[in-house]
Symmetry: C2
Subunit: 216 residues, 2 copies
């Protein structure tokens, strides 16, 4: 299975690529292919120092989509619409949204689009055959990058395509100690996307860093 | 400190009363005083069998408000407005909302009122001097009642009055192994109220029961 990361050189995407590279065939996309290649060189060097020899391929976002079976949209909500408008080829692919539509005011707050959630907006913008799931919403960028730390978190996964959701949950369950939970259809993905601003506020008001979540 | 539970004979309220009774002076309110008294007799008997001698006083909802310093609104969202409309005397009191505005369709979904959340609706309906906090939103009724089980959960607490929030967090931290977290102002309480339908869906779709949450 090939996983393509759109926005794979960003805050979340780069750490995600390093965590996934030892487990899957990972293609890192960026607006500029050269930037993706440089990021991959750097990530491979980091992994090598930790004794993990693996290949990360840097390409354009469009090539990441074209060459992958599963596409992770590792882009901030504010760039989502503009980015998707420049890309195509999502037909029949599994598309994972870890995107949280939130704003930082005096505190973090969920500001969902009229579609109801970032994942629902993704579904609306992509062809009908794209199999959209939300996952990885509440894993902090720092935690993705901290390769020596275990990720002992619960990951709620939403989606309307049972097969796609099953595959995404299997990907989740392969990463460190992440544990996937079926959180229902995309219609309730806003409740999952709300976790991230909630956790950011909890970090802020309780003097914590990179707070995650476990279902018990 | 006296804690009054409005709706103290309901699903959540009764278990809450039994958990709080050994720790605080608890007054159990109900629409009918007789029902509250019967519930208290029964709860005290249950506690006695577990070696805990404590007093629970059954009164009307109005008396529970009048006699308490901290009032917990243990009522379902669908009865919230009608119940508050019949009650008064909330001036200067700490009022805790564990209420989640949700509906069960094919799955559970958050349906916040126009005010933004149940806690914000409470604040709007009560006198300005009432010190409203949200807390205890995601602790299942069965867990409140299972007195032999530890409650090892995280409890996000929202509120605009720092002193009231501090007192509510202290109450939370006294109960079993609950751990209170400041989740910010009431303005973000909808993100806390969204946890319960999220957890109910996770229980349902993953064959679990009474799922709770921990921040890590």
């Amino acid at each position: 299975m090939k996983i393509g990361i759109v926005g794979g050189t960003g805050d979340i995407g780069e750490g995600m690529a390093m965590r996934l590279a030892p487990l899957f065939n990972v293609i890192v996309g960026s607006r500029e292919k050269e930037k993706a290649q440089a990021s991959c060189e750097c990530s491979m060097e980091t992994l090598k120092k930790k004794g993990m020899q693996c290949t990360l391929t840097g390409v354009s976002n469009q090539t990441a989509i074209d060459d992958a079976d599963v596409i992770i949209l590792a882009i901030p909500f504010r760039h989502l619409s503009a980015t998707l408008a420049t890309l195509n080829g999502f037909e029949n692919k599994i598309v994972v949204s870890p995107i949280n539509p939130m704003e930082k005011r005096d505190f973090f707050v969920l500001v969902p689009p009229p579609e109801g959630s970032a994942a629902l907006l993704v579904q609306q913008m992509l062809p009908k055959s794209a199999r959209v799931c939300s996952a990885f919403n509440a894993i902090a960028a720092n935690k993705w990058r901290a390769l020596d730390e275990e990720l002992a978190y619960s990951v709620p996964v939403c989606g309307d395509d049972a097969g796609a959701k099953q595959q995404v949950m299997e990907i989740v369950n392969h990463v460190s100690r992440l544990q996937a939970f079926d959180a229902g259809p995309l219609a309730v993905s806003a409740m999952v996307e709300a976790l991230t601003p909630l956790l950011l506020n909890i970090a802020r008001y309780n003097g914590m860093r990179d707070v995650g979540i476990q279902f018990k």
